[in-house]
Symmetry: C2
Subunit: 219 residues, 2 copies
């Protein structure tokens, strides 16, 4: 860690709040504001005031000033830097089913520093063409292309049955972080990160809440 750098330990939860902060702060900047105080951010985003202050302090190089707050542009810069919104990461996607297509077509990743450069699929009928401007290759090309293009992020949008095999191939191809949309656990070496986007898990929370609410009413 270089002298003057912030400690590199930012909690998982805090990291996940960053995109919300960034979005909000960008809005303020556009409206010409220069500084913002933690309580104001907290109120807007429905968070605790102290939590926000800590998060902002962790990202800001300078100190927040009592009565006025933190410098907006600095916060934005530091957060974007921490999340790599500036120097875009290239990624490839495996599995061009309906979800895969949707992700390929989604334009919002660019502003988060993610750049989908290509897709892969095991079905020969789906390869060879383009989807949303991204070329679709057969699985046999995976390793070669990943290595040559120095790809470090892989997105898995294949059925559960194929997920682990695809995962292994990605790791073999040098991918360091995997974004997994298949609703299953993936086993990887300890230095590889798997971030699972399990819709069913979120749904579980919704359903359970609903069940409790309805039970209360009927009681």
């Amino acid at each position: 860690m270089r002298e003057g750098d912030k400690p590199t330990v930012i909690s998982k939860q805090a990291l996940q709040r960053m995109p919300y902060y960034i979005r909000f702060l960008r809005g303020l900047k556009e409206r010409g504001m220069k500084v913002i105080a933690a309580p104001a951010v907290a109120a807007q985003l429905g968070l605790n005031e102290v939590q926000v202050r800590k998060d902002l302090a962790a990202m800001s190089n300078s100190h927040g000033k009592p009565k006025s707050g933190f410098i907006i542009v600095e916060l934005i810069e530091n957060m974007e830097d921490a999340l790599g919104y500036n120097n875009s990461d290239d990624a490839i996607l495996v599995g061009v089913g309906s979800l895969g297509r949707a992700l390929l077509g989604y334009g919002g990743f660019a502003e988060c520093g993610l750049n989908m450069v290509a897709a892969f699929d095991a079905d020969p009928a789906l390869t060879g063409g383009n989807i949303s401007g991204k070329p679709v290759f057969p699985m046999s090309k995976l390793k070669d292309i990943c290595c040559r293009m120095n790809i470090h992020i892989g997105v898995i949008t294949v059925p559960v049955a194929a997920a682990q095999a695809v995962c292994d191939e990605l790791v073999e191809a040098g991918v360091l972080a995997i974004w997994n949309f298949a609703p299953t656990h993936l086993t990887v070496p300890p230095d590889i990160l798997v971030q699972s986007e399990n819709m069913a898990a979120s749904l579980a929370l919704l359903s359970n809440h609903l069940r409790q609410r309805l039970r209360e009413e009927n009681l």
Copy 2:
């Protein structure tokens, strides 16, 4: 709480693990197995043994037996019950852009007890027809349809700028739980649950991990 019922307090995290358990246990059941021990589950899903035992114990009515484990079918039933996989919840979706379409076309929700019955959009050009067999109505019909069909779950797949307004309409229409795919905070009354599916938040974890890994290598 009725006599004999399990305590209704299941931690958020545990709830989110349920779908993984269910999926794994169903597989065992199909292969004819009757009982399963916590350590075996833990190994398969990459979880801690004690954690799994606690989770299973929380869901099972009977006790797990030393040396053999828990009764599979009972676990499945209890979990499905807790998450409402059996008595399906009806839901409506607002915003039929690319993500909305993808979700409407995704068949996997049925087995999680979610039943998308209709979609809505503000753009008149998109309403009137069907998408993946689901009718698309104009926003003006929202409240009427939700009330008549007794809808309690709303899915938001509109741009950020429209999200809060749509959210308010949903609450007004009697929705109790909201599944939010717009990358923004939604303000709701305290008894309404918002589950946000923020891709940017997940990406934040991936990017950060990657940045650290690459820094380590280059050091």
